[in-house]
Amino acid sequence: MSSLAAVARPGGAVRGSTLVRSLGLVIGLAVVLVLVTDALGSYQQLQLAQGAYYFAALAGLTVLIGLSGKISLGHGAFMAVGAYTVMLLVGQGWALLPAVAAAAIVSAAIGIPVGIAASRLEGPYLAGATLAFAVGLPALADRFPSLLGGANGLTINPPAVPSFLGANVSLEQWQAWIGCAGALVALFGLYNLVHSGVGRSLRATRDDEIAAALCGLDVARQQTLAFVVSASCAGLAGGLYAAVLNLASPGAFPLTLSLSLLTGVVVGGLGSLAGAAWGAAILVLLPSWTNSLAHSLSLGTNAQGNLPFAIYGLVLIGLMLAWPSGIQGGLGALMRYMSNKRRRG
């Protein structure tokens, strides 16, 4: 399922068949995930929940970079915005669901000015500006310590499992469901965006800005829209993070988070929603894998904390040098190779 398989079709913003298809996809996945969570232990439920919020952030980012060609190194900051929004609202007595929705909306709102600026910047200038954003925004928590909890951050109580589900559903499973629900919402929205007229215009703009502008496409608006949508997904991810981990602090959203997101997107395959799923899996599984590795090799805590990032760095470099299209690109190439063989053979 490649999100870039969109064939140019005439017609309006979102065609009915895309909506139906995406709904079917989301419902199907929801069923599968519910069944899967029944079989998982509580630590694995947590990992699934983490994978879910990573997916939301990665999916938004991969659509931004892959579709509009604009890079953002600041999506960790949008996650922080989402997480803190949920923290503050739940602290005020809001229920979780509206709080998470608000997280997505607030991030979208902040994404507007950032996106407008981003639409006017190119390549390394954009990268540098979003980098500064990633470092600068979390530092603001120290500026308003009473409101935002300073360096220690904010905490909330874990979300209560609704009574109608009874005692069969543990807290961890409920949190996994919350995460997955959020991820599926993001998937639904992004799938429709990618396969719509807007998605096509974005790709046209990415490939040749001048030509697109000559065709009457409002380049800046399209790019701002893409940025806002992806920021909103990152905010949603942050909200889910808050729902699952019940904690938000500046230290949870360092620059390296934004760079991990970039890694996930590149590894999975830029521009591919399926790739975002691969990337999310790696971002969750790699650290626990390297932790076991560090344990078994009896490396000190220094190595433990840093090993995943050392590997991310090497992976980013290696992929860019040898295999820029990532996992999904590799799968795509493999499938093309095999279908060619079948045709010829």
Partner: protein
Amino acid sequence: MTKFIDLTLSGVSSGAIYAAVALALVLIWRATRIVNFAQGAMLMITTYIGSELITSTGSYVIGFLAALAGGLVLGAVVERALMRPVENKPELNAVIVTLGLYTFLVALAGIIWGDTPRPFPAAFSILGYDVGGTHVLFAPNDTFIVLVVVALAIGLGALFRFTDFGLRLRAAAFNSEVAELLGVRVGRMFTAGWGLAALTGAIAGVLVAPSVFLSPNSFDPILISGFVAAVLGGLDSPPGALVGAAVLGLVLSYVGGYEGTELVPMAALVVLVIVLLIRPTGLFPVSKGRRV
């Protein structure tokens, strides 16, 4: 009033550091059209190398020179091994490679040396001067910093304008194809450019380490400030980088002093965004793209 003077002087001193980093970024940009986001991490590694040698030999000078030599080698190796394959590919690829390098180097430093900040000796006294009875927050070491960076800038300028090597470097940067047709081994020039840039960065690292302490992430703000300074001046312009760095050093010093240090990164961002919105290619753009 004294506060204003103190802030101005410390702004000059930090501006000098930003200038060195900005020069490193500009050098690489002019040569290979890449922004080296790993510059901060590279100069962090060379500063650790310097630190190790100062500890083992007891000599500041040896450590200083070791850091510089390390920079030269590191820059050359990175260009040859990592950047060469992506120099002609889409911009995004090179950006991601430098970010991957940044991630790797910071993690590597954490693994080798740990995350705990360690002190780094200053070359000269860090006690502020006494000017006519008032104690100023500007010390002999700050004078050293400013003098070294000025000498560096003059040295680089002279290298480029008056030497054959500098002429080849510039030619390779302005028009690599024509330079090749004139017998310039462009690949070697790019490697040399990166080596020089990393050496410049290494100097910045050693100069600023005493005040920020040495840890894998302690140079991140310097990279961002150096980048903003370089962009302010226009990525193509070394003199612009110096001006941008001076301006930024002062602005950030005032913001930090009057409003609070936690606002400094955000202030750098705001300056960056304002400048880029007015002039998307910096305040002193030099050339309008490449000629065939």
